[in-house]
Amino acid sequence: MTGFAAYLVFFLIVALTYSIVVMGLNIQWGYTGLFNAGVVGFFAIGAYGTAILVGPDRTHLIGGFGLPFPLAVLGGMALCALAALIVGLATLRLREEYLAIATFGIAISIQLVALNFESLTGGAQGLVGLPRPLFGLFDSPASYNLFYLGVVAVMAGLVYWALETAVRSPWGRLLKAVREDETAARSLGRNPARVRLEVFVLGCVLMGLAGGLYVGFIGYVSPLDFLPILTFQIWAMLIVGGSGNNRGAIVGAVGVWALWAMSGLAISRLLPVAYQSQGGAIQVILIGLLIVLTLIFRPRGLIGEAESVSKHAD
């Protein structure tokens, strides 16, 4: 494979992994109107959970269960569900803002645990040398990456299909009902707080799934892969693609990740070495502008939410 094709495969694996996170956020924000300000925290819980369960036994570390990869990912997702329950039960019966604040808090706390709980997370060095699923079956890293792209694409496709089925079900209509008019939903005998909790946990579990897939691909975890900026990047992907639309979530993930990669390349080529850190700031400013400008001028994003009108209406 040429260098560019190899890079493209690498790029698509990461972009499609993020698209699963974006779809998780989409069911929370796009369909139900829940603001999750700690996306990176749940992605990290899934990644670290997977890493700890899949990793080989090491004397100086807790964990090292050496579980098969799929089981480890499921374990990471279960941890995400637990964290989401703790935050969700505290906040979802209160004003909507409190969920935003609490998720912001859990993301910071997870970052601290990742950095400081060295005997579990490996601290600043992270956990390295994790087994990559089925790596031994391939003769070159390039063909393995191609295989892994297939795995991630199938997983993203499955998540897409499952969410599309879910939002078209009566349960899915309930989400929008709770978002649009909580009082009406309640008067029809629904429990909005419960629906919110279900959606919040589901979205966070999907973020955890993506975290697990990410670890399987790179073969290590490090706190540097879970910086707060990722939360903003995921939000930019969602709003650019158009919230309330899963196709938009995938388009946004690939598009914004491409923009990020290209702006990084442009800065490293064009700016002198002395100004590289300022270049990094400019790159982040682009993400911030993308969020704020889209929110003001094109709130429906590139694709946006499809109108849903009852077939009984005129």
């Binding site: 109107g33 209160l94 004003r95 808090g105 910071i108 850190s277």
Partner: protein, 302 residues
């Protein structure tokens, strides 16, 4: 232990100043402003910018490490921060107000927080900076307790501001309008209160206090572009603990959060200090979501 309590009261008073502005905006403008803590950073750096332009041409006022220049710089920083808050309100929040989902405003402030932080990083660089390079000798107040004169100044200033703000809210017409708008927006409007006027002054007061908090933080700790990011959770915890919209509550909340942070270091590794406000926040939300002193907009859904 004594030292930890003294340090906690000090950082708590800085958190309190920031939390007052946050609780006012949360109570009156009715949204959780994720960008509020960035106003603290902005204020701190604006003062640094003024100092670096004018230079510390007058010696420090003993026993403090700073002199008249920093006081002047603080005034300029307050104006600059108020202007930034008004500009953000006009450019970002005004077009987003009235959208069906009021969380759009929270989302907007989330994006703005990133922008402000990065602009500061771009303008001033990422390294830690100080207002003054002179080292201050801590005074030994009691056995095992050392306090720097700057820290006493910080405490005194906070107390004066809290009293002044209390009188403002109780005695002046504008203060009364602000409380009215926080308690019942519809009723306030019916009674002819100019909402836009009150909103403007809410930003000016909140941002000015944030700027002062930023300068005091820079004076007693150090300046970094991440100040605001690290203060955001303590500010939210303090505002919610004290009851959203309740100024006095924000002060008590700030002191509790500051004390809890500094005392926690005696029992858990210092690396987890930043998670303490989150634990307080979760506890409050589980046990008493309206805060210790019921705020104007309590925990219930509005």
């Amino acid at each position: 232990m004594l030292q930890a309590i003294a340090d906690g009261i000090l950082s708590g008073s800085i958190i309190a100043l920031g939390a007052i502005g946050l609780t006012l905006t949360m109570g009156i403008l009715r949204f959780a402003n994720f960008a509020h803590a960035e106003l603290v950073t902005w204020g701190a750096y604006m003062a640094l910018g003024v100092l670096s332009l004018t230079g510390a041409f007058m010696g420090p006022l003993a026993p403090f490490s700073f002199g008249v220049p920093l006081l002047m710089a603080t005034l300029v920083a307050m104006v600059a921060t108020a202007l930034l808050a008004l500009a953000i309100d006009w450019l970002v929040y005004r077009p987003l107000r009235g959208r069906a989902n009021h969380l759009t405003l929270v989302f907007g402030s989330f994006g703005v927080s990133l922008l402000v932080r990065m602009v500061i990083l771009l303008l001033f660089g990422g390294a830690a900076q100080y207002y003054s390079s002179t080292l201050q000798i801590a005074m030994k107040v009691a056995p095992g307790l050392r306090i720097m004169p700057d820290q006493i100044f910080t405490l005194g200033l906070t107390a004066v501001i809290v009293v002044a703000l209390h009188l403002f809210l109780q005695k002046t017409r504008l203060g009364l309008s602000m409380r009215a708008l926080a308690e019942n927006p519809e009723l306030a409007r019916v009674n002819g209160i100019d909402t836009r006027h009150v909103v403007r002054w809410t930003w000016i007061i909140g941002a000015s206090l944030a700027a002062i908090a930023g300068v005091l933080y820079g004076l007693t700790v150090q300046l970094r572009p991440e100040i605001g990011f690290h203060l955001l959770l303590p500010l939210f915890a303090a505002a919610i603990l004290g009851g959203v919209g309740n100024v006095f509550g924000a002060v008590i909340g700030g002191l509790i959060v500051g004390l809890a942070e500094s005392i926690s270091v005696l029992f858990i590794p210092a690396g987890y200090k930043l998670a303490v406000p989150f634990m307080i926040l979760l506890l409050v939300l589980y046990i008493r979501p309206t805060g210790i002193f019921a705020g104007t907009v309590g925990g219930g859904k509005s």
